[in-house]
Structure formats: C-alpha cells, structure tokens
C-alpha cells in the first residue's frame, strides 16, 4: 500500500536525520586525517590519543563523579521532600511546588547566572563544590516530579496502618512507603544522572580551578578547532550507551518473564 510505503519512508528519513551526525562522528573517528570531508584511511590513533589526553580524562572523571553524587544526593533530598510535600496542606503545598517548578521552567542560562551571582555574593570559591551544589539544585525538582505521582497513586492509609500496628514512622517509611514509590525514585535518580552528565550551561558558569566536565571540555575543543579525538570520545560514549541499554533490556526481559508483568 502506498500509505505504508510513505510511512516507512518518513520514519526512515526522520531516523536518518537524527542519526546522521552520530554516524558521521563515529565514521570520522577512524579517519586518518584531521580533515572534515576527506577520508584518508582507517586508523585507531585518535582513540590512543584520547586515552593520553589528560584534560579529557580529568573532565570525564569529574563528569561522572558529579553526576553520581548529584544523583544520589538529590534523590535523597528529593524523595524526602516529595514525601513531606505530599503531606502538606493546600496552600503551602502549592507554593512549594511552584517554587520547585522554577528550575525546570527557567532557561538554563538564567538558572546558571543566578547561581553564579549567589556564589559570588556568598564569597565562595568556584570549583568542585559550587558545581556540585548547582547540579543538585537543578536535579532535585526532577526527582520530586518523578516521585510525587507515585505517592499520589499509593494508598495513603498504608503508612497509617503500619504505624497503627506498632511501627515507628521511620520504619513505616522504610518498609512501606519507599518500596511503593521505588519506581519513581529510580526514574528520578536516572533523570538526575542524565541531566547532570549532559549539563553544560550551568556548569560552565559555576565552576573553576580547572574542575571541568565533559561538556565544558568539548565546548573549549570546538573553539580550538576540530580534533578527531572528540569523534573517538563520542563513539565510545555511544557504544557505552548501547551496551548499557542492552543490559537494561535483557534484565527487564528477564524480569518480565519472572514476574509475568507487561511493560
């Protein structure tokens, strides 16, 4: 059918559009030349150079360190905040939620700049701490936004019931509430991690002392000139992502079979 053909073509074109730059990056990471349009033979030298580039490796280290820390810390803060917020009375709840929504709404440059002004005002030294604090600030709202719906879905009386049966509030929290909202917590943590890894603007304005993350490094490389080492880096990131996804896919498949759930 013509219709089906058009649909197929359209989908193909869209995916081509999405993946074209990635394919280019990957292919040219093996190009034995710095040139952008000419293929000069296959080589692995950019990969070798990548692992010798101290700047990039350091940036990678900081990127992951900050992402892991922000994810963990913001998940903890966010989960407890969400639990508290869901128990708040109408007006205060609305105010807190709207304030919480601000970093999500605000263009990243405004968030970045406002944090920079704050840190300057507090006379803090720009560096690892300021970058971490900024990341936590923009991650927590997303954790809250992921956990709140799950709290809404959960039966409120479960926690009460647990406490009636003699559990302390903390025990009820640990054994009843958290397992119920776990999917929301995990989603929130994942979103926080992803946002932190990919952040550029907020980190750019709020770091110092040579603490740089991958995005900042890449940005300065785009200023300096095209270096195929970037291509090698992106290829590795892509491959890493694919492997991670495959693992998750296999595990959820296993889970599905074990639990008989439909995803």
């Amino acid at each position: 059918m013509v219709n089906k053909g058009i649909k197929r073509l359209y989908t193909f074109l869209i995916f081509l559009f999405l993946y074209a730059p990635i394919i280019v990056l990957i292919v040219f990471s093996f190009n034995n030349s710095k040139s952008r349009g000419v293929w000069a033979g296959f080589t692995l030298k950019w990969y070798i150079e990548l692992f010798q580039d101290a700047n990039i490796l350091k940036a990678l280290y900081y990127t992951i360190l900050i992402a892991v820390l922000s994810a963990i810390i913001s998940t903890i803060i966010g989960t407890f905040a969400a639990i508290g917020i869901s128990n708040m009375p109408g007006i205060s709840k609305k105010i807190v939620l709207n304030l919480n929504y601000l970093p999500v709404l605000n263009p990243d440059i405004v968030t970045a700049v406002s944090l920079m002004v704050l840190f300057r005002f507090l006379k803090l030294d720009f560096g690892f701490t300021t970058m971490l604090l900024s990341h936590i600030t923009f991650c927590v709202p997303y954790v809250i936004l992921s956990v709140l719906p799950k709290l809404k879905q959960m039966n409120k009386h479960l926690a009460e019931a647990a406490m009636d049966l003699g559990a302390t509030p903390f025990y009820a929290l640990r054994k009843v509430v958290i397992p119920e909202i776990r999917p929301g917590i995990i989603t929130g943590a994942l979103i926080a991690f992803t946002l932190s890894v990919d952040d550029f603007v907020i980190s750019f304005f709020n770091t110092g002392k040579g603490v740089s993350n991958l995005s900042i490094e890449i940005f300065s490389m785009t200023r300096r000139g095209i270096n195929p080492v970037i291509n090698a880096l992106s290829t590795l990131m892509f491959v890493g992502l694919m492997i991670m996804l495959l693992i998750i896919y296999k595990r959820t498949e296993k889970n599905e079979i074990e639990k008989g759930e439909v995803r």
């Binding site: 300057r120 002392k209 200023r223 300096r224």
Partner: protein, 348 residues
C-alpha cells in the same frame, strides 16, 4: 543485602569525594592563559622539575580574562594578559609586583621588549610572546592584491570573510580602515567604526576565535583577520595561505606573564615564569604555537623556516615602514567600547 550494598556504595562515594579533595595537598599553581598558547608538554616538564602541579585553564580574549578576575571566586597565580590589559590591571591594583630577583632568566629577554609603555619600570610583567595583526588569505581564492583593510569590505568576497570574535581587535580594524588611531577615545570616530562594522556584517561569513585556523587551513574561506602567530601555524599546514599587513597600519601587541594580587602561590608563580623564560622552553613554545618569542637565544634554536619567517620575525626595516600601534587602556571610554561591540554583534 541490597541495603548493605547501597550503604557501601554511599560510603565509597563519600570516600572518593574526600580523597579527591585531599589530592590537592600537593603544591600547585593556577595558570590562566590564552587557548592554544603553550606547548602542553612544557607543563609536564615543569611539574617534573619542580614538583608543583599546574592547574591550567584557558580564556579567549582579554576581556574574558578581566571579567573572570574581577568576578572573583577563583584565584590565579599566573595569567597572560596583553599590553593594554596589563596597563588597566596595574592601574586598578589587580597585580602583584614580581620580584625580578626570582626571575634570573629575565636577562634572556631582548632589551626592546623591556620597560614598555604599559609597564614602564618592568615591575609587574615578564614578556611572553609578541606579534602583529594582519590578514591571512588563500592565494587561490583571492586575485586582488591584499594590501589594505578595505579588501575586507569588498563585496566580491561576500561570505568569504572571517573577522575576529574579539572586541578591540575588530573595532581596531574598522578604526584603522577609516584612518583613525586604534586607541581612539573620540566617540564620533568610534561610532563611525561601528557603522563600518555594521556595513560589513552581510559580507562576513563568521566571527571566529581559534576556530579560524581550521577554517582557513581547510580552505573554507578566502580572508581572515588573525594574529601573526596563528598565521604562521596556518601557513605551515596549508601552503596556499599567505599573510599581509595592510598599508594603513596595524596593531603591534605583547602578551606578558603577570601575577594577580590575590595569587595564593606567588613563589610557584615566579618559578613558573622563570621556567618559561628558559631559551629551550621558550623555543619549544614558539615553535609549537607559531608565535614570536622575545628571547633571541630561543629564536636561534628555532627551525629555519620559522626563524626566517617574515610573518613571525619581520625585519626591523619592515617594522619601521609601517604604522604600528600598541593598544592602550581605554579607561573610562571602555563602556562605550562595550556598548559598541554589543551593538555590532547584535546587528542584522
């Protein structure tokens, strides 16, 4: 079991953070330099010789540098401003005096580069590199003679022109084209320069910084305004390129090493500065980045083609024949420069 794993993970992460912080106990200096302005292996050698870690970061223009310093929150030990910026920083008390007794290698620097106008008694700065500003052009893409700034306003080269993404350098080109001084403090002259730049906008393909090197080497544009050292580096990679200094005159510039007043490791800073003045180190830098070193012994160590390059080391007669101006601190007129630059960049 799972809980214990989570707790373990948390503890490990906290340990890593603490250790990451502790790792800074080794003495270190924070160096803030132009992008692509040093042979990075030199930094490794310095670390090996003196056991001082170098935290190296880069900026793109003098204005960037100034704002970064003024905003505070980060202290640097060695920075590399240009002439007029040094003048301004001295005036505003942002620099510490350097104890020249700790810089014995300063004797290697040619007399001509000492006690320049911006630092008359040479108390605050040690020269690093110098050069000119000119037009790099692709001989196969430009058939006119390149001898005037006018060529950058030539309709024939629409979308083939690259201007520098740098406030003073680009405004200077317009001022020179109009026959004014590039240190003009006359608001009418500045407004006229602004009009020229706005007129030029449709012809400009891009305003670039360091990317200009790749663009010209890749043969993607015909003309670009660049600093002499970049021209040397570009011409090395693409023999179709040549460099010309327009007859209206140009900017002669000097970049020097200075120590900010709030530097935390002044000793380390002075060791670093002294290290860079060693002829072999200076030669390595000059060779790698293509810029011109003020140390004659280092020049002698350079490979022949760069030593004899008219671009990197123009003869004295040539320098005398052309109107060369060194940038001066614009002082109060700086707000007008800022405003004009913002307006040029926002133009249609």
């Amino acid at each position: 079991m799972r809980n214990r794993l989570i707790v373990l993970a948390l503890i490990l992460t906290m340990m890593v953070t603490v250790l990451a912080g502790c790792g800074e106990k080794k003495p270190s200096i924070n160096v803030y330099n132009w992008g692509d302005y040093i042979d990075e292996s030199v930094l490794e050698d310095f670390e090996k010789e003196y056991g001082i870690k170098v935290n190296y970061s880069t900026f793109a223009t003098n204005e960037d540098l100034y704002v970064k310093l003024k905003q505070g929150g980060e202290s640097f030990d060695v920075i590399f401003p240009s002439d007029y910026m040094i003048e301004r920083m001295i005036r505003e008390g942002m620099l510490a005096k350097i104890d020249m007794n700790n810089i014995p290698n300063i004797k290697n620097i040619d007399e001509d580069f000492m006690n320049l106008d911006y630092d008359p008694n040479n108390e605050y700065s040690v020269p690093y590199m110098w050069g000119t500003v000119g037009i790099v052009y692709n001989k196969t893409m430009v058939d006119d003679v390149v001898d005037s700034w006018d060529i950058l306003w030539n309709e024939k080269y629409k979308d083939q022109i690259i201007m520098l993404n740098s406030q003073r350098d680009t405004i200077a080109v317009a001022l020179l084209k109009l026959g004014y001084s590039l240190n003009s403090r006359n608001i009418d002259e500045l407004e006229a320069a602004k009009q020229e730049l706005l007129k030029q906008r449709p012809l400009v393909w891009a305003y670039q910084g360091d990317e200009v090197k790749d663009t010209m080497v890749g043969g993607e544009a015909a003309l670009a305004v660049v600093w002499s050292g970049d021209a040397v580096a570009m011409m090395r990679e693409n023999p179709d390129l040549d460099y010309a200094i327009p007859k209206e005159g140009t900017n002669l510039w000097f970049d020097s090493m200075v120590i900010p007043a709030n530097a935390k490791n002044k000793e380390g800073a002075e060791l670093f500065i002294n290290f860079l003045c060693r002829p072999d180190i200076a030669a390595r830098n000059a060779d790698y980045i293509g810029y011109s070193t003020p140390i004659p012994e280092a020049v002698d160590m350079l490979p022949e083609e760069i030593r004899n390059s008219k671009v990197a080391y123009p003869s004295d007669e040539f320098l005398d024949s052309i109107k060369l101006e060194v940038f001066k601190d614009p002082m109060d007129i700086i707000t007008e420069y800022d405003r004009i630059w913002t307006e040029v960049m926002s133009g249609q």
